[in-house]
């Protein structure tokens, strides 16, 4: 999958018109200068050589140098942008799962009007554009009530700190983790304050899928014989629902988590733009405006690897949860 995407991106970005070198300069630029830059980026070499060079670099973890700006290597740029995205998607995912599963179980258990409300919520929230929800939250909590900041990751006055063991810096770039490891409580509080609105906006939008899946699975599971048997043995309703039924209802939900991750990344691009977070999404949008092939390619490769790893983890998790899959 990674190879297919990579090759397609490479070919499509190269074959089509639009020269990154020319985009750097005016149309009237000195041809010698243009040639020099073209040569420096290796764009004057045959396409297949560029391709194999790129693959060779990739095997060594080298994503090439950026074609716009100061020719910085792409890899470190992506690494420096990734923590913001990771932090946002992680907390959004927690919000989505918590809201989705709780409301889904609630609807399936109650039936009737509460269930209809849950169903409507699932449909409505799925149709919500994440940036619009983000704006509404910003307006209410950031501008009208002035409770929470509307953008960025930290207030300008707060300096991020991180843990250093001996002389080895343990800088993750994940501010909630860094601040806790280094014992910087004000930074932790500030980070959380900045995270609440974007994570809730993205998490709620993603929760729609979880609500629907949990609700339908739970309804089917609650009708299953083993649930009736558990009830007949006089187990508490809470035990029946949460220990017996939910565990079985969750199985199909685990399998869609991998696909949810792609949805989460798409949403993260819009959320990062809306909340001015310097993550991978805003990086991608910035770079595309410069026709920075290597940066776009690098980001796509990075995301492809990430998604493959997530689906692998999901498969392992599934095997752990469902004994029938174990060998």
């Amino acid at each position: 999958m990674i190879m297919i995407l990579l090759t397609t991106v490479f070919i499509v970005m190269r074959v089509l018109p639009g020269n990154p070198v020319l985009l750097r300069f005016e149309k009237t630029a000195d041809p010698a200068l243009v040639a020099q830059y073209t040569h420096r980026l290796g764009l004057d070499r045959p396409l297949y050589l560029q391709y194999f060079d790129y693959l060779w670099g990739l095997l060594h973890g080298d994503l090439g140098i950026s074609m716009a700006g100061a020719f910085e290597p792409v890899g470190p740029q992506i690494i420096s942008r990734f923590p913001a995205t990771l932090e946002l998607t992680f907390y959004s995912f927690i919000v989505a799962v918590a809201v989705g599963i709780l409301t889904g179980v609630f609807g399936a258990r109650k039936g009737g009007t509460p269930d209809d409300a849950v169903k409507i919520y699932g449909i409505l929230i799925y149709a919500f554009p994440v940036f619009f929800l983000g704006m509404i939250l910003q307006l209410i909590f950031g501008i009208w009530f002035r409770l929470l900041p509307v953008g960025g990751r930290l207030d300008p006055g707060v300096n991020p700190t991180y843990l250093t063991i001996g002389s080895i810096p343990l800088q993750t770039g994940i501010y909630t983790l860094d601040s806790l490891l280094s014992g910087n409580i004000p930074m932790f509080i500030d980070t959380v304050r900045h995270l609440i609105l974007p994570a809730v906006a993205l998490g709620l939008v993603i929760s729609g899928v979880f609500v629907r899946m949990t609700r339908t699975n739970m309804m089917e599971t609650l009708r299953a014989d083993f649930v009736t048997a558990a009830r007949a043995r006089g187990l508490k309703e809470r035990t029946v629902v949460y220990s017996y039924a939910l565990r079985n209802a969750l199985l199909p939900i685990v399998t869609i988590m991998g696909l949810q991750f792609a949805l989460l990344i798409s949403g993260a691009i819009l959320t990062e733009t809306e909340f001015n977070l310097l993550g991978l999404g805003t990086y991608l949008v910035d770079r595309i405006n410069f026709r920075d092939y290597t940066a776009v390619q690098g980001t796509v490769v990075f995301l492809a690897v990430l998604i493959s790893s997530v689906s692998l983890i999901v498969d392992i998790l599934y095997a752990y949860l469902d004994p029938r899959v174990r060998l």
Binding site: M1, I4, L5, V9, V12, M13, L16, G18, D116, I123, L124, Y126, A127, F128, P129, V130, F131, F132, M135, I136, Q138, L139, I143, W144, V150, T216, E220, G258, L259, A262, L263, I265, S266, G267, I269, L270, T273, E274, L284, V285, I288, N289, R291, V296, T299, V300, L303, A304, I307, S311
Partner: protein, 293 residues
């Protein structure tokens, strides 16, 4: 005789697609609301030139960031443009992109899914692998890439969205065909000499239609959201057009002064447009899949 047969078949096919509208149940209710919303937005967009009180692109028509009032019922944006006119006009291009995208998706995804699954073999497996790769990749990232490469035009935006959603059709059609093609009645048709094409069209396709309706309506909702997202990050339509997504980008700049009307109505329209199609899809799925009732 033959003619009568085929028209009877098409009637029953139409009937099959439309039957969920008849009878009772919450699914039908959802569908009717969805259809109502969709028709409302479609009619509003189609008749925008007659409905809108002002030119949606005229700068300095009213005061800057004026709240809703008698003269400008939905207020004005930071450039003094009339937001009611912009809201009425704003769906035309989003919906156009969505319609074109869905048509392209269907035109490509359905035949590939049908033929690939019916023939099976390595080609089918290879296509399925490619489609799964696209499917698992964040749709917005793909759409952004395609647009940035081909340039920002309405057709390219539709193409980008089409490419992103082709796998949804392919996957649904393929799984249905795989389930149906081993059925005894298909074997029976083959054994009395029906060719591959007529087996596909007469015996397999009718089993796929109701899933296609569900996928297409979900696809419409997703296309609307993706188009609006692309417009919002500035990689969609030209910013000079009146458009809900672009209005949100403009309105965002007026948020710090609390001008909620600059984002609220265009955002609401995107929501309603996507919601209309989601409701149709949800209701239809509920009506055709008794398990969900």
């Amino acid at each position: 005789m033959k003619k009568g047969n085929s028209s009877q078949q098409s009637v029953s096919l139409m009937g099959r697609v439309l039957s969920p509208l008849l009878g009772k149940g919450s699914g039908r209710f959802l569908m009717l609301i969805g259809i109502g919303l969709t028709v409302f937005i479609a009619v509003m967009s189609a008749t925008a030139p007659y409905l809108s009180p002002h030119d949606p692109t005229q700068i300095g028509l009213g005061p800057s960031n004026s709240p809703p009032n008698a003269q400008y019922p939905l207020g004005t944006d930071q450039y003094g443009r009339d937001l009611l006119s912009r809201t009425i006009w704003g769906g035309r291009f989003i919906l156009l992109v969505a319609v074109v995208a869905v048509l392209i998706c269907m035109a490509i995804g359905l035949p590939i899914g049908l033929i690939s699954a019916y023939n099976g073999g390595n080609v089918d497996r290879a296509i399925a692998l490619i489609m799964d790769s696209i499917y698992a990749f964040p749709s917005l990232v793909l759409a952004i890439m395609i647009i940035s490469v081909f340039g920002v035009t309405i057709i390219n935006e539709a193409l980008a969205i089409a490419v992103v959603y082709i796998p949804s059709y392919f996957r649904v059609v393929r799984s249905q065909v795989l389930a149906v093609k081993e059925m005894p009645y298909v074997d029976a048709a083959k054994s009395v000499g029906a060719g591959g094409f007529s087996v596909l069209l007469k015996y397999i396709w009718p089993n796929v239609t109701s899933s296609v309706v569900v996928v297409a309506t979900v696809n419409f909702a997703d296309s609307i959201l993706t188009t609006a997202g692309l417009d919002f990050i500035g990689l969609g339509l030209p910013v000079t057009l009146p458009d809900w997504g672009i209005d949100l980008t403009y309105g965002r700049q007026s948020l710090p002064v609390g001008a909620w009307w600059t984002i609220f109505f265009s955002g609401l329209m995107i929501l309603l447009a996507a919601l209309g199609f989601s409701l149709i899809s949800e209701g239809y799925a509920e009506r055709t899949n008794p398990k969900l009732r």
